[in-house]
Amino acid sequence: MLEIRNLHVAIEDGSKKILNGLDLTIHNGEVAAIMGPNGSGKSTLSYVIAGKPDYEILDGEILLDGENLLEMEADARAAAGVFLAFQYPLEIPGVATMTFLKAAMNAQSRARGEGELKTPDFMRRVKLGAEKLGIPQEMLRRGLNVGFSGGEKKRMEILQMALLEPSIGILDETDSGLDIDALKIVSEGVNALRSADRSFLVITHYQRLLNYIVPDTVHVMSKGRIVKTGGKELALELEANGYADYVSDVAA
């Protein structure tokens, strides 16, 4: 279970406050969607949960299964079960995708005090996961994300999520830059990972993604807070009416 309480966050140099007392609880097995206009702080929220260093936490707490994430480095949070699918995945030239995947999986199992994967087991899991997402073997030998198309990068993020088996998967605008076919593949990949003990935080501008990844709860974010919470029908309402109601509510 992920619990965020009264979270206040500014950009590191203190110039701008982005999250203003955000509260959010995501239960095990739940898929929560966060929607909101540009600049409402959605991506910042995902970075702060994952432990990006550029932010200053002014107040509040983030607990994952009771553990305080804010006291951990980003790699410790990853080992604790946080996975962030980046909106813009980074390129690591010269590091074969396969090499990167193995380094990440082994780092996490070591951090959890588990033994490392045997190479044949690792290869089998990667091969299987890649096939499901339509990722050709050849891509796994190339430098991580180097020369990948937007769709390929997003699929690679989902493959990493599948292999790392997080307890919470955060998807930061995973639908951006995807055509409808890629969107379906990615969504199927995410849906296959849904389980009773894994939750998701899906950040998106558009309702379209939520036709494929059907959320349990939908939260509207504006000016660094959750201003409305509802079921999946709330997404449809937003699609029809826009964010104007919620944004002005807060402003008033």
Partner: protein, 489 residues
Amino acid sequence: MVAVKETVEQVKELDVDQYKYGFSTDLEVDKAPKGLSEDIVRFISAKKGEPEWMLEWRLDAYRRWLTMTEPNWARVHYPKIDFNDSYYYAAPKKNAAPKTLDEVDPAILDAYKKLGIPLREQEILAGVQTSKVAVDAVFDSVSVVTTFKEELKKAGVIFCSISEAIKEHPELVRKYLGSVVPVTDNYYATLNCAVFTDGSFVYIPEGVRCPMELSTYFRINEKNTGQFERTLIIAEKGSYVSYLEGCTAPQRDENQLHAAVVELVTMDDAEIKYSTVQNWYPGDADGKGGIYNFVTKRGDCRGANSKISWTQVETGSAITWKYPSCILRGDNSRGEFYSIAVSNGMQQVDSGTKMIHLGKNTTSRIISKGISAGRSQNTYRGQVSAHRKASNARNFTNCDSLLIGEQCGAHTVPYLESKNASAVFEHEATTSKISEEQMFYCRQRGLSAEEATALIVNGFVKDVLQQLPMEFAVEAQKLISISLEGSVG
């Protein structure tokens, strides 16, 4: 990735001090009196039991050296060297002239064992190494042992110390010594000619492919002692040899000078692959101590279709001043230079290559990867030139710099000179930083800061590491990560 994991574990095992070869060995030594003079030159020559012609050659070099001035064009800074404040000869006493390994001082064998260099052939054969490597071990001013000599002899290959070669193969030494790097080439090379003490000699006869890797392991042990290594490798028509040199030194507060000269000669259709893993003591974090590594390395592709390939991994030394070069004299000859230069702390590197195209259809390729961290300065300096007769000369240069942190510097100084209209030179250069974003991405996947840096750096240097013989590539990868220890916070 296994290597990355090992690297990280190895880094963790290290003490605060990162340099793991910093131990010194206590031995009784036979030293020349301190300082430099004609008498010292005579002393060295006499210690080596050299013939008269060799002494004359040295004295001539010494007299010329006195008239020369130290070069100052490199982007390195250091206090003026007092050449009289150093010892020019130091040899372990018990090791006058060992015939077999059993006669070598066990303390020296131990030192090499600690460095991971097995010298006993049966240990090498029984050991973990996948392929055989013959080693010439040079300790301060003398070669203490050369392994697999007999087996190499069967193939007609001569592999011995240069001191031995001067006595046993004077006709070859006289013919080639100084023929690639002339006596008056430059200040440090001339000094080397006067006072060189030991190094390796390799002769590969016509048509022979050397049956194993050859390597020389240089160790500076004594305080206040300069090491002046001299290496000469000759590959006759159609022959091939792969040679590797490694270097380490104890941690000392004062600076020590290492001024080497390496000469390579390839005849028609011959190939020499020369690899260096240089890990001299780099000094401490504040720049105290460390080796001044002022080295002249040059290969002469004398024959048609011959090839010389330099691969270097430079992680050590307080100052590195080194430009392994190729003279592409034979038609269709090829020169290659692959370099990884890592600088951390207060290290200064000014390194690169020269590709001198003289013959027709000569080609050269330069791949240089510089990594700067800490407060270090890292300069690539390279010259590519085509002579009037070098029709269709081709060069490709790729020069990438990676910066880690905010206080280091990377510089690229290419010199291009073409006197032939058909020559084509290409030059690519990039400078990049390990971005915060890349680091965060890796750490989000569970990698620690050290692991993430090691991974990104390994990716950056991959093209060059691939050029090293397998056994050494893994070592080099570890070394690079260790050298960068403490560069990420």
